[in-house]
């Protein structure tokens, strides 16, 4: 079930856990880019809709994927999402799953993030 267990390429509408100041945009589109069976979280790459930069991946509006505005997939706010939230209607609602060739393009963008060299 794509909504209960995030797989790479799945897009969710993730709520920021209100532990401190309210985020200006509490809900963000985020795509699962990595997950581990032994972890309690999966790694999410966010999609921003303002101030995209040269090293972000442009993401045009796509109604089928429930991406309602142009935006950018960005490494800047890469972070962990709790697995126990996955699929929760208000905290982490499943939106869609990337299909090829877009799935490879987005996951390759994640792989090309600044990272240690072998």
């Amino acid at each position: 079930m794509p909504d209960a267990a995030a797989q790479r390429g799945d897009i969710y509408n993730v709520h920021r856990d209100a532990t401190m100041d309210q985020d200006s945009k509490p809900l963000r589109r985020m795509v699962c880019v990595a997950e581990w069976p032994s972890e309690s979280t999966w790694r999410a790459m966010p999609r921003i809709t303002t101030d995209g930069r040269a090293d972000d991946l442009f993401s045009p509006r796509n109604e089928e994927l429930k991406l309602t505005q142009d935006g950018w997939w960005t490494w800047r706010f890469l972070r962990s999402v709790k697995k126990r939230w996955t699929g929760h209607a208000s905290l982490c609602a499943y939106l869609s799953s990337l299909t090829e060739p877009l799935r490879t393009e987005v996951l390759d963008h994640y792989k090309n993030r600044p990272r240690p060299r072998a």
């Binding site: 200006s24 945009k25 581990w36 309690s40 979280t41 790694r43 993030r113």
Partner: protein, 290 residues
């Protein structure tokens, strides 16, 4: 809870903890993050960009840890540490406070990433499997929440009254000078100035637009970066900003704003940005002492 001044029980070298080691931010380095005079977390740099870095959280042996965290037997803190590549997080450079030295070589980190992706054993052992108890669950929740807060701590924050509206956002939500005038109850000429970014909206105007379009207030404002921000975001300025914060009894955001303002007041001064910023710092620290 970590402290800027007192080393944790796991760390015996108090001087290293309080002073750190000189050096620029580089992949493989262990750093202490802080904001507002509070230590936030230990972090291992895994990728460095112009105004942020990707990091792996690092925890100490006295803290709860579980697979897929990896146990690294030695560290610049002279204690083993746990690194969490599975929780890689983007962190603004303004949070990097104190460097402790190189923790891992890039090649070792690359092998850890590869092991995680391929489901194989990493170069160092995994921590024990996670225990299914309330204390572990509670600690885990707190760690994830804390790192989300760290990730989302941005500087500078766009502030109404100091930042123009983001024209691209206005266009995307269907705002034009004509309907902006009607929405805010201002003259068309004033609306045009706001729309073009020639004047900054007030807090009330931003709130009114945010409410009407059901969009976050900060989304409406332009992200503002200038030469002062690009300079002050560098970790090398952190201790100086803390000094201003203490000198003027204010938080870190206010201290950074104070230094930017002082820098801007001497806009005609010659020298590099760094030289002029140092001069601005000097003036602020000497003020009212004479």
């Amino acid at each position: 809870m970590l402290s800027l001044d007192r080393p944790p029980a796991d760390v015996t070298d108090g001087d290293l903890w309080r002073e750190g080691q000189p050096g620029d931010l580089a992949v493989g380095d262990l750093w202490l993050l802080s904001w507002d005079g509070r230590a936030l977390a230990l972090a291992l740099a895994s990728g460095v960009a112009s105004d942020y870095a990707l990091v792996w959280p690092v925890t100490l042996p006295s803290e709860i840890a579980f697979q897929p965290a990896i146990e690294v037997p030695t560290s610049p803190l002279d204690t083993r540490v746990l690194v969490w590549p599975s929780r890689e997080t983007g962190v603004g450079l303004h949070l990097f406070h104190r460097r402790f030295g190189t923790l891992l070589r890039e090649r070792t980190m690359a092998l850890m990433i590869k092991a995680g992706e391929a489901g194989k054993e990493p170069p160092y052992p995994y921590a024990p499997p996670r225990s299914d108890d309330k204390q572990t669950e509670s600690w885990d929740e707190a760690m994830v929440d804390a790192w989300e807060d760290i990730c989302l701590n941005v500087w500078p924050k766009p502030l109404p009254g100091e930042t123009p509206l983001n024209r691209a956002v206005l266009r995307a939500i269907g705002v034009r000078p004509s309907n902006l005038a009607a929405l805010l109850g201002v003259a068309t000429s004033d609306a045009a100035g706001l729309f073009l970014g020639e004047t900054n909206p007030t807090h009330e105007q931003v709130e009114a637009l945010a409410d009407h379009f059901e969009i976050g207030p900060e989304e409406l404002l332009r992200t503002y970066t200038d030469e002062a921000v690009a300079e002050l975001i560098r970790p090398a300025w952190k201790d100086h900003i803390v000094a201003i914060s203490q000198r003027y009894s204010e938080g870190e955001e206010a201290a950074r704003t104070r230094l930017r303002t002082e820098f801007a007041l001497a806009a005609r001064a010659t020298g590099t940005t760094r030289d002029r910023m140092r001069a601005a710092l000097g003036r602020l620290l000497e003020r009212d002492r004479r």
